[in-house]
């Protein structure tokens, strides 16, 4: 049986290679969107954990830069406790936002300071308003890190299953943040109001370059560079998209250990049971 499986795997790879051969000709047609460079993330791998300081910096970048256009509607202020903030700090951050509430006893909507149970307000009233204001609808950032990615292609996508590579989204977002070019390459006509980005599919992106060196003040001594901002805000977005990732990996490890022990016991129990089958 082992041999048939081996043959299957070999033949499968061969078939894949043969079929993959015409691939380059397709890719050449699409103005060459390079794969985002792999970054090091503290949360990758089976024991990965978020770097709290990085998430706090990412939140700062979000609040001072991204939040002008992008919502974060699935994240509540109370969730910021995950970033290492105390209850009082969470309350203080929430109170800095104006939340629309109501109707009150007079039947009118009113604004009040945010509470921990409130969610980050979206900076525009509705999608049509956003289109008028921003030349497009800035996507909500809550799940964006899971909603973006890129094709890994054969055979990498098979290896990813085993290496647990799950950071397509953050790698892409980081690359996008640093991938702006002041001038498009010769022969590329940029539509009105768009910017040229190396990593954006089609390259013409409606979002102007959001980050620049020294734009956000870091108080923890981290470099105030576009690259660092991009990394921090990407990590923050990964947390926003998958807030229970640490619990998932921790419980996952416990489950794997349990299953391995149980499988081992069952293996010997099966052997014992079948030894009686004479």
């Amino acid at each position: 049986m082992a041999r048939s499986v081996l043959a299957l795997v070999l033949a499968g790879s061969l078939l894949g290679l043969v079929a993959a051969a015409p691939q380059p000709s397709f890719a050449a047609g699409e103005h060459e969107t390079p794969a985002p460079p792999r970054q090091k993330w503290s949360f990758s791998g089976p024991f990965g954990k978020f770097d709290r300081a990085q998430l706090q910096r990412g939140l700062k970048v979000y609040r001072e830069v991204c939040a002008v256009c992008h919502g974060l509607k699935y994240v509540a202020f109370r969730n910021l406790a995950d970033l290492g903030y105390s209850e009082a700090q969470v309350k203080a951050i929430a109170a800095e936002y104006k939340i629309k509430d109501g109707p009150n006893d007079q039947g009118e909507m009113f604004e009040r300071p945010g509470r921990p149970a409130d969610y980050f307000p979206t900076p525009w009233a509705n999608e049509n308003a956003a289109r008028v204001q921003y030349n497009g609808v800035p996507p909500d950032m809550s799940v964006l890190a899971k909603a973006r990615g890129y094709e890994r292609g054969f055979p990498w996508f098979i290896f990813d299953m085993f290496t647990q590579f799950q950071e397509h989204g953050v790698d892409y977002i980081h690359a996008l943040m640093v991938g702006y070019k002041e001038k498009p390459p010769a022969g590329f006509t940029l539509p009105q109001g768009a910017s040229y980005n190396e990593y954006f599919p089609g390259h013409a992106i409606a979002m102007p370059p959001p980050l620049s060196d020294k734009r956000v003040d870091y108080t923890d001594g981290s470099p105030a560079t576009t690259d660092q901002y991009a990394k921090d805000v990407s990590a923050f977005m990964m947390w926003a998209a998958e807030p229970h990732m640490e619990a998932r990996k921790r419980i996952g490890f416990q489950v794997m250990i349990f299953l391995l022990v149980f499988a081992g016991l069952l293996y010997f129990a099966t052997k014992k049971v079948w030894a009686d089958a004479h």
Partner: protein, 423 residues
């Protein structure tokens, strides 16, 4: 097929009282304890049990998710995020359910391939096999309906594409699609009915599984030799022999399942489904879930809309005719050297079709899809019938025990190592 090793003897007064009124303990005993199972079954025979476990797991996690999910176009996506963020262990339950669907298909494909390799569909197991094909169709429908529920971009556009299959029906196609949608496009009425049906179909699956197991217990299990058990020497009692073996493999399978759930939970999904459904933008590259890919490739290989849809359904429907398309009198591929090679080619072709299904429908991919689609059908319509006539099969053993002895393996003592498929 034959009398069991022992019959149920109620011990307590209550069980004796019960047994005269509702002999359920006796039924369970004869079906899952004393039921004679061929002693040479290898580990490929454990996937039926694994599928039962997965069906149960999907039902439990699904019923729980419904407690927190909202089937409404405006709220479905939000409620899934609510599950992922706020509900206690909601992320775990949702990932178990979404990856469980994929694991279900992994297990069913292995189960089907095992049946095809060892000729488990042949006389007298035709009905058992056809019930299996029906189960597979029901699973595909359930999986598709479930994938629309998060109401992401892939949900929405997947539903659009799949329901449009029916627009290929001449004359009434458009009306049928409007009827399916409950509107002039996919929308809230569609989501609500899909939700209702997604909740219903698993219970239909449970019903057909009961028939499938009933049919199995009528005719008995096939085994790697394809020779029916002749005497009690050829069989062992289901419990403990098969139960413990199934249990061991179930836990091994759970290791794979847990790997996906806890470490790469979105690997088998698609990033676009984390974008809320948007009726005005189609994702640039839309693909179905991996388990539909071979059939999707067949659909796209045919340039004509109606014929493409017919080919798609035909590629699944043809499985129901397998018992009669395979004309060989020998069941197991172990004694069919030629068939064995064609079987593996067929598996490769199906995997290849799956890979092509994930690629854009252009250039060389289309040509490759056409060749493989042709081969897929040729396997059933030409190769299998012809093989039955021309193939020189190896001599069959007289009995299962003889086969085991000939292979130089002591009965059962080989333990859990797969014994039967040594090539």
């Amino acid at each position: 097929m034959m009398s069991g090793h022992s019959t149920y003897q109620p011990q307590s007064a209550f069980m004796k009282w019960m047994e005269r009124r509702l002999p359920i303990a006796g039924l369970v005993y004869s079906s899952f304890v004393s039921y004679p199972t061929p002693r040479n079954l290898n580990y490929w025979w454990t996937f039926g049990g694994i599928l039962m476990f997965l069906l149960g797991a999907q039902l439990v996690t699904g019923i729980i998710l419904v407690m927190h999910y909202t089937p409404h176009a405006d709220m479905a996506f939000n409620s899934v995020e609510h599950i992922m963020r706020d509900v206690n262990y909601g992320w775990l339950l949702r990932y178990l359910h979404s990856n469980g669907a994929s694991m279900f298909f992994v297990a069913v494909y292995i189960h089907m391939a095992r049946g095809m390799y060892y000729g488990s569909y042949k006389e007298p197991r035709e009905v058992l096999w056809i019930l299996g094909v029906i189960l597979y169709l029901l699973m595909m429908a359930t999986g598709f309906l479930g994938y629309t529920l998060p109401w992401g971009q892939m949900s929405f556009w997947g539903a659009t594409v799949i329901t449009n299959f029916f627009s290929a029906i001449p004359l009434v196609g458009e009306s049928v699609v409007t009827w399916l949608w409950g509107g002039y496009s996919i929308g809230n009425p569609t989501l609500q009915r899909f939700f209702s049906l997604h909740y219903l179909l698993p219970f239909v699956i449970v019903g057909v599984v009961v028939l499938h197991v009933w049919a199995l217990h009528m005719v008995g299990q096939n085994n790697p030799t394809g020779v029916e058990p002749q005497s009690e020497k050829d069989t062992v009692a289901f419990t403990p022999y098969a139960t413990i073996k199934d249990g061991f493999m179930m836990v091994c399978f759970c290791l794979v399942y847990a790997w996906f759930v806890f470490y790469v939970p979105n690997y088998l999904g698609h990033a676009d489904n984390y974008i809320p459904a948007n009726p005005s933008v189609t994702p640039t590259h839309i693909v179905p879930e991996w388990y539909y890919l071979p059939f999707y490739a067949i659909l796209r290989a045919i340039p004509n809309k109606l014929l493409g849809v017919i080919a798609l359904f035909g590629s699944i429907g043809i499985l129901a005719f397998l018992p009669w398309l395979d004309t060989s009198r020998v069941r197991s591929a172990k004694y069919r050297p030629l068939f064995r090679q064609f079987f593996w080619i067929f598996i490769l072709v199906t995997v290849g079709l799956g890979w092509l299904g994930s690629k854009p429908a252009e250039g060389g991919y289309v040509l490759a899809s056409r060749i493989l689609t042709f081969y897929y059908f040729a396997h059933f319509i030409i190769i299998l019938p012809v093989l039955g006539w021309v193939e020189k099969t190896r001599p069959l053993p007289n009995s299962i025990s003889e086969a085991i002895l000939n292979e130089g393996l002591p009965l059962g003592a080989s333990g859990p190592a797969p014994t039967a498929t040594k090539n």
